[in-house]
């Protein structure tokens, strides 16, 4: 359960204005990414109740993401869309050199602050994950706010896991996600455990947004330093929670009883706005007796160096190695 929280307001540390240099301790490619500075300015979120404005903002962001993804389409990946009972789509992607009889599945829960990343974005990211993992991927196109707040997104992920269990042994499934997807991956595992279903072989949590209260120190320390995450996501968190307490365990799994979860790998970077989320989750898993390993990349922000630095490949190699050690049937 972590530590009890204090409501005392204590004075913090006042830091003078200063310049943080581009570190020479990372690859030249990573330095080039860091030299770009914040990749997008902080934006004003719509008022919680203005759902039309949220829909417009989400559509704009997804369109922008599709533009970026179009420049780097994963090649050689076969992908098919399956529609589950209930109407949720799952994109099933198979990368080059993986045979159709390979029974491993990486169940991918996409990121996007619990509001973006649906549809075509989800489908293309599934293809990229298949290439990165060098394994078959199922990616859940879970429904999201404003039309489908909590618990629908989580219900959809659990439904996809149940559907997968009809076709695979639990030991053939690795469950993972990045950012908001990391939140839903843990929450899915908790629901699976609590509903008495067999757990997957392992969990992969990349810079997971497991604390929607944003209590972590890195939300302050790394603000302005993370190239990708340039502001709090609290409005999206509140939209998602839809009146539920942000500390509920299925909403902020950092505060859940984590006992019984499968072996977990966690990755982050020292400039990640979610650095605290990640290291706190690692500690909470260890306290719960879960086998959990942590990898922190120097000066990396949320999402590393956008896949453009050797550090990103190193991170993927760690994850593939971890998954390979835990997948029961490595083909």
């Amino acid at each position: 359960m972590g530590y009890s929280m204090s409501n005392d307001v204590r004075p913090g540390i006042v830091l003078a204005a200063r310049e943080i240099p581009i570190p020479t301790s990372v690859s030249p490619q990573a330095q080039a990414i860091l030299a770009l500075g914040p990749l997008s300015p902080p934006r004003a979120y719509p008022p919680i109740e203005d759902h039309d404005a949220w829909r417009r903002m989400i559509a704009e962001q997804d369109e922008a993401t599709l533009g970026l993804l179009a420049a780097r389409m994963p090649e050689g990946v076969e992908v098919e869309t399956r529609t589950l009972d209930g109407g949720v789509n799952v994109y099933c992607a198979r990368p080059p050199l993986v045979v159709p009889t390979d029974r491993r599945v990486y169940l991918d829960i996409h990121g996007g602050a619990l509001i973006t990343g649906a549809g075509e974005v989800c489908r293309i990211i599934a293809m990229g994950t298949a290439r990165n993992m060098e394994a078959p991927v199922w990616s859940v196109d879970y429904r999201m706010p404003p039309d489908h707040p909590y618990p629908t997104p989580l219900d959809d992920c659990v439904s996809a896991y149940r559907a997968l269990l009809l076709e695979r042994e639990p030991g053939e499934i690795v469950l993972g996600g990045s950012s908001a997807g990391g939140n839903l991956a843990v929450a899915t595992a908790l629901r699976v455990r609590d509903e008495g279903l067999p757990l997957p072989a392992a969990l992969v949590l990349n810079t997971p947004e497991v604390d929607l209260t944003e209590s972590g120190d890195s939300f302050a320390v790394n603000l302005g330093l993370d190239p990708l995450l340039t502001q709090s996501a609290m409005p999206a968190n509140l939209l998602y929670a839809n009146g539920h307490d942000l500390r509920e365990p299925y909403i902020s799994p950092l505060f859940a009883d984590l006992s019984g979860l499968p072996p977990t790998i966690l990755t982050t970077g020292t400039r990640d706005l979610l650095l605290s989320n990640t290291v706190l989750m690692h500690r909470a898993l260890r306290r719960a007796g879960v086998e959990a390993e942590l990898h922190v990349f120097e000066a990396a922000g949320h999402g590393g160096f956008l896949g453009q630095a050797p550090e990103d490949e190193e991170r993927l190699a760690e994850i593939r190695s971890f998954a390979s050690r835990h997948w029961r049937s490595a083909e």
Copy 2:
């Protein structure tokens, strides 16, 4: 070997003045430590060549440390002083509930920026380490600058390891150190490997100062946030290196070929000035194929929360658990 360095000067990120709150994501005891702010103001180091001034500064610091240690003397620890051939002292400490026939040894290399921590400070810290590790400890009172710069401190640590090998199997030895002691612990392991001696069972590196060039990002990002380390240690590093290139592998082991090193645990905190040192070392070990695990504590500075928070006990429990898995004869 890490990444190639760039000599381009790129503009960094300019951060406006700001207040970093005391995070609620740590224990109340940890919050109380963080609320104290920097525990000592940055000080002016003496000019490199003014050895008398260095001796005075070192004596003052050691005296202050002894004053702090006196308030928390480890109880029930038996300690004896052994003088090795060559005159170096080793403090052999045995904690309560550990029998004299226990063959495990934790070979402790004390910290202190490669200049402080000798003599009585070393002896008392050995007693504390024995209690913390719940195991027999040998602590090396290695000679230091200004009178004994590199390579003498390292030579002394290697001599102590050689002496220990006469009495113990290598699998009975875990080698560890904090801060500057982490530097010397790795360098000792490298020398041991390179001289063809058998390696210890495991390495323990707490916030290790493995890069005396101070290239890491956290030297900038965490400056002012780490309660304990409030400035660069570069003058001490240069005094230690005594004209050698700071990037030499035995001086900054982060840049060494690390292949063949034993399993290693590394600990740090997100506010640690040596956060980058620690995570970069973890990555370098992994790239070299060494079994290495990383533990990062939320909002903790160099040296954690001064032993006054449950997070500190959690860190020690991880280290004890790690050592126990690797010590060949757990009594």
